[in-house]
């Protein structure tokens, strides 16, 4: 269903981009789902309104530099750094090397996604620490949770009991802080992404760097505490000798070690990205049909709004499901490498 819609929307996008001169669908889409150095809010009468964010770069030629992204607006140069409009490095901060080629410096700028991550992280920290403060200050055996604690406790208990405990089994307490953090981190970023205006709207969990980092943490959690059996199964599995002598099975198993977190990375990235693209495309119907006459414009806008509402509701569901799935699969992978599970299986 989702793929079908995506194809439909892509076809629509191509059509729209060609048919409409005043509205650049590609720029519109990539501007919303991509990362950028400033946080664009809106444009009023041709004047762009955006929040400048700090750029932190360290180039070989021009050395370290920290400045606001507003200094590079409109292709301006600042201390040798600039953002080219076209070429291989379009949209990235570059510098010119002495031989005249464009070179990307080490770039750890606080981009839109980084800023959104920080905001989400702050909200998440506030929520969870407020919740834990409630538990510190109250006697749980005599009081029912109120406020933030009442809001979060059912979710925490559900994830802890039904996902983490069931997937990992005995000894799950060691992993539950990481998995709970991952769940709430993904969930809050997914939800913030659905909010169409500042401080939401950034496509954080639909960015492959973010999901890659999450998958990396899961990879570490799985392999760092893997049992002897887990590693024996990888390098010397219980298969006929000729499958091990020429190391077919070990190679497959080692590839499997990496494909598991890779699947986590791609799944979260693709689902959230697809959701953003779908909603943006539905909204784009309004702009595309603007030149098609009042009847078409009106009816298409109505359809776009109704479908947009539907998609937003669907994305709320997807935001939860993807966080849930990531947590559950991470827990399952950890459970497979967990010592006690390995012992009970044999």
């Amino acid at each position: 269903m989702k793929r079908f819609l995506l194809i439909f929307v892509c076809a629509f996008v191509c059509f729209g981009a060609k048919a409409e001169e005043g509205f650049d669908m590609g720029e519109y889409l990539f501007g919303h789902i991509g990362d950028s150095y400033e946080w664009h809010i809106t444009s009023i009468a041709g004047h762009e309104i955006s929040i400048p964010l700090p750029c932190i770069v360290w180039g070989e030629t021009n050395g370290p530099a920290v400045f606001l992204s507003s200094r590079l607006e409109g292709g301006e140069k600042y201390r040798g750094y600039y953002i080219p409009d076209e070429g291989d490095n379009a949209g990235k901060i570059v510098e010119d090397a002495p031989d005249g080629t464009q070179v990307c410096p080490i770039d750890i700028s606080i981009t839109k996604n980084v800023a959104a991550l920080m905001i989400s992280a702050a909200i998440l920290l506030w929520l969870i620490l407020a919740c834990s403060r409630w538990y510190r200050r109250h006697d749980v055996t005599h009081e029912a949770p109120t406020g933030v604690a009442a809001l979060l406790e059912p979710v925490i208990v559900m994830i802890d009991d039904e996902v983490i405990k069931d997937s990992i089994g005995p000894g799950y307490e060691k992993y539950s802080p990481y998995l709970l953090t991952a769940f709430f981190f993904i969930l809050i970023n997914n939800l913030m992404g659905i909010i169409p205006f500042f401080p939401g709207g950034a496509n954080v969990t639909g960015n492959i760097a973010v999901t890659m980092a999450l998958a990396l943490f899961t990879f570490i959690a799985v392999n760092l505490f893997g049992s002897k059996h887990y590693f024996k199964d990888i390098f010397w599995p219980d298969v006929p000798l000729f499958l091990k002598a020429i190391p077919i099975m070990p190679v497959i198993e080692i590839i499997g070690m990496f494909t598991k977190p890779l699947s986590l990375m791609i799944r979260l990235f693709a689902n959230i990205l697809a959701g953003h693209v779908l909603i943006l495309s539905v909204v784009a119907l309004v702009f595309i049909s603007a030149t098609l006459g009042p009847v078409l414009f009106g009816s298409m806008s109505l359809v776009a709004v109704l479908f947009g509402i539907f998609m937003d509701c669907l994305e709320l569901l997807v935001a939860f499901i993807q966080a849930y799935v990531f947590t559950m699969l991470s827990a399952v992978f950890i459970g497979l490498a967990h010592p006690q599970v390995a012992e009970t299986e044999r």
Binding site: A121, I156, V210, L216, F217
Partner: protein, 167 residues
Amino acid sequence: MGLVTPSGGLLFWMVVIFGVVFFLLAKFGFPVITSMVRKRKDFITTSLQEAQQARAQAEGAEETCRKMIEEARQQQNQLLEQARESARQAIEEAKAQASAQAAELLVKARADIEQEKREALAQLQNVVAGLSVAVSEKILRDTLSDDKAQADYVEKVVEEFRRKDTN
């Protein structure tokens, strides 16, 4: 920036931010919450068990109470039965005694009456014999001259007897 090529800067910041969030939450956040929830769960479990025990005890107490009431009622019934029995016996005895006494009295009275009758008859015989002797003596002693004298005499004698009798 490409869609599927991860950017190093974002990756770096993501690792840093997630690392910090994870560190803070794993130290001050989730363990507190989950341990407290577990504590409450244990508390609820033990409370339920205690409640069940208390209920079982209460049921036992109720059972003994009911037994005691049952026993008391049985005793009461027995006592009532005994009392009724003894009352009936007492009445029976009293009745039997009374009828026996009555019969005795009747027999005595009958005997008394018989005695009296016999005595009265004996007296009457004596009186009648004496009277007849006296009357015949008087008649024999008197010379019966005439009818008038005879009659007077009889009258006189009868008068004498009467007087004698009244005396």
